[in-house]
Symmetry: C2
Subunit: 86 residues, 2 copies
């Protein structure tokens, strides 16, 4: 399962569709963002995806956590939002 | 139960302590943020609070949603992170 990487310029509805799609297939999705703008888009997309899935009778929860990622040889702290069934 | 309001300049550890404290008392907490910087701090604080509570053997989940708030007579869209038991 691929991690859904979000940037500050990602469209929330597009990311929400990706989250819902990955969740439907894998019963789990992971969204990763670095920086305030990206984290904001990721959270808004997760809220929208939650509503998409609620329309199908599926309730998901979000588990926010920190993770370290390698960006061009430098360690960066990313926020990861793990989406799981309630 | 008061909503915990977060700004872009809020300290994540202080907000995390507030979330854990409110959760311990009420078995629920609500965190509200407007704007990318505030949402970023709110999510990071929620991740930290989740770890604080895990140390006590309590697992919480986060339910992100949109809400409308009145700021000096103007309607603004806020992000609300509802923290509930798993």
């Amino acid at each position: 399962m691929d991690v859904i990487k979000v940037s500050g310029s990602s469209r929330t509805s597009a990311v929400a569709g990706a989250i819902a799609g990955v969740f439907r297939e894998h019963k789990r999705a992971e969204v990763q963002a670095i920086g305030a703008g990206a984290v904001n888009q990721a959270v808004k997309a997760t809220a929208i995806a939650r509503n998409y899935l609620l329309e199908d009778g599926i309730e998901v929860v979000c588990l926010p956590e920190f993770t370290t990622v390698d960006i061009e040889g430098k360690e960066r702290t990313a926020v990861r939002l793990v989406v799981e069934p309630r």
